[in-house]
Amino acid sequence: MLFNSLTFCIFLPVVLLLVGRAGLNRRNWILLAASYVFYGAWDWRFLALLMGSTVVDYTVARLMDAADDSPRRKTLLVISMVTNLSVLGFFKYFNFFIGSAVSLVQSLGGEINRPALQIILPVGISFYTLQAMSYTIDVYWRRMPAIQSLRDFALYVAYFPQLVAGPIERATALLPQIQSPGRVTPERINIGLMLMIVGFTKKMLIADSIANITGPVYSNPAAFTAGELIQAAYLYTFQIYCDFSGYSDIARGVSELLGIRLMQNFQQPYLSQSVTEFWRRWHISLSSWLRDYLYIPLGGSRRGEVRTYVNVLLTWLICGLWHGAAWTFVVWGGLNGVYIAIERFFGIARTPPVTPRSPGQWAKRVVATVLTFHLIVVTFIVFPSPTFTDLWHYLTGIAVLDNLSAVGMLPLLVGAAVFLIDIPQNAANDDTVFLRLPWWLQSPLYAGLVFAMLLYGEREVPFIYFQF
């Protein structure tokens, strides 16, 4: 079920009504049932996969909690990891690895046919797999005890607002709220509705409006001039941000109305002054997951300079692969890793962001922000390119530098719309800053936005991150 669908407009009030009238015990059953309905609306067959993953991790964690000896705990952890990664690997990477192996053998002169196996990628599998894994790892590290209630754990894995595209919540943050949800106060209603409006605005009014322009360009870059390619690169940079952060905002808003607070997944990333800072503000739940469960266990920065750079690159290559089963995603991850490694080498990563107080500092900040933004734009040329051939056409197409006037004012207009939301939030260090406006200003503003969504909601464009 899409957030930006008529079905969800009916589904959500029904769930809120049922949850609002239920006690804690029934509340979590209702939420679990609603989560399964939400997920099953795409393809009910994949519910079995979700439930299977839930039962395995729940059982493993319980057994792990009960076990005293380290080898047994380790064995159980391995069982959980292998199970989770096997399922993810089969559904997401089987064709990719088989295809790559076949291409390698063929390039070496061998004769081998690619097996024909049509595998559908279950929506959200990359997200709920990481979420479930973080729980078993935390139990293994004794950061938390195993949960007793299978129902509550199932809800933790399947909680519908963040099930298909995050934020990837930690058990330490979400489980206590599932077991003891907060009261739905006027503040929560305010925050929830405002976040939903901001999220839907980003998604339906900004991202979906750009999609018609960027889609054809990225799918056939050879047919476009340099000006059009550059314009599409800028626009896609805004589109993916509005699409993904819009989803996160809606998820957080919906969850607030259910009395559960989700983490902030984006903090105005395009105002970052370095790529390192960008990744502290972009898809925070994933980057912190990779930091805590991959980079640090690999040794982080504790095992010397060379190993640190190796760990950084490895983490980012895996981050790229997590995003999609294609070599272009691996290159995208690697490019981010290189950026971060270079910033680390020059000490930029350790420099705190400038809080400008003088014109000189303002200038420095603007230059750093603009430069960082353009480095990110380059990565978003790689990211959506289906193949290296398309990427090559894209880059060589830009190199021709023809028809540059086609870049036009549109990226600036879209950027202005995005920064109209981001700059106040960033300046106040508060993503609920709009709630501080007088009610007579907020009310017509939100009404206008809701009206615009009603007019443009017909499109029901899926979120980009659903494919991951």
Partner: protein, 518 residues
Amino acid sequence: MSSLPPPSVGDRFAAETRPPFADRYATWWKVWLPIPLLLVVLDVSFNAWFWRLPKLTGSAADYSYQYLYDLAHLRGTKQADVARIVVFGSSVSSAFDPYQVRGLLAARGIAGPVEVSRLTKPGSKPSDHRLVWHAELDAVQPDVAVFVFNLVDFLNPSFERNLKPDIRAVLPPWQTLRERWRYIPDMRERLALVTAGVSNLYRYRQPIQSAVEDNAKALYRWLRSDDGSGGGYGWFEDGFTRDRFAVPLPDPPPAAFEYFVHPAWLQQRGTVRLSFAVDGRPLATRDITSPGWKSLPLEGVGPGLLQITADSTWSPRAAGLGDDTRLLGVRLRAAPAASLNHGQAPFRYVQRLPADVDDFLRMGYARGNAYADTWQATLQDGSEFSRRFRLYRDVKLATRERRFEPTGEFAELRALVGELTAAGVSVVLINTPESPLLEGVTDSDFYRAYLQFFRDLAHDDSRVRFVDLHDALPAEDLNDWHHVNYFGQIKLGPVFAPVLEEELARRKVTAGKAADAL
């Protein structure tokens, strides 16, 4: 779980019960309560305000909006002493220009005022029209319903296929749900129809979107336009003008302004109305019913810009006067100096008027063999248009191998005609031209039976007439296999007018006899 450590990641509010800035938030109900209230008020009062907004663009800009707009203006507006003719059909119904036919009827001196409207929805079928008429007949109250159709309208039944969203947009939602429930496989579409049934804002979201966008564009154009005072505009070197033109008046101005109304203009349009203004101030209006040189006295008019607006244009090519493809207005004694022709027509809020000719002419201005060559090249050019029309060709040619069965959309049409005549409405069925380039379709048994079906309908009921125009136009007067271009449209107006005049007269006689009997 109370012993759990606080979250290691997440926003700064994650472990708190209240956000730090919550005290500075506006009161929640003051912010949020007005929004649903406002939307409900807008929704409930929708029909009272939305359709009063002028539609700024031509029908091709958004056919659904045009259809719903025209339908809304027909609802509950029938005047007892005005004969109402409503034309409807798919895209082929654009062969009928209601504004032109109204002018021609008026020129033929029929008794009493006549109103002619057209409801065109590309892709719609008889089953769709029946749904609309079933819901709207009492409110619209036509005297004569004219169904303009082509063979293609009967070859892919609407009720047996998933409803296209753009067709669904013009259908009455509850009626559609009741009659098509089992043909709508997708629950989301059913849900959309239910929502459209209870909410005007949802049902009419597409027209609202078009209206908002059209007005935004108009505002942009208005900001960029000049007031037209920069000089004259709208004339050609040979002295002919467009429908809107202006000439600078010298100081002192001449005693009269002279202009020529071409006979072909009146043949094509019946009457012509010219509105005169000086520097935007209305000066005079002339209803012209006879051709020739005319004169407008300019006594007391100072120097300035004389602006003239005609309510229609005429086509020399459609009149058989050579290959001149322009759409023209009057002719001046002599064209003003080219140096004076540098202004732009002033901004007009409603960009298109009912009198404007639909500008569809895909094949350029070619004629004869050049037209046939262009059409063949277009069919093969790999575009979506060519793919669609190759498909139409194949579907139409395939009818030669079929036996005619008056089921499906034919049965729907029979039911529609029955419903209309039972309500006292006269029905005129018009079969539009087929392109002569599509050989073999019209001389098949299927096509003969197809025509016979309509003849039988007309034969069975004296209130039903059938006009067959399948061979009325040469290929060059069509855009493609079955859509006429504007030359064809202009030529067909004088064919429709006498048929409608006859039907209106018959109704009058019948009504008179009924009154005498009483």
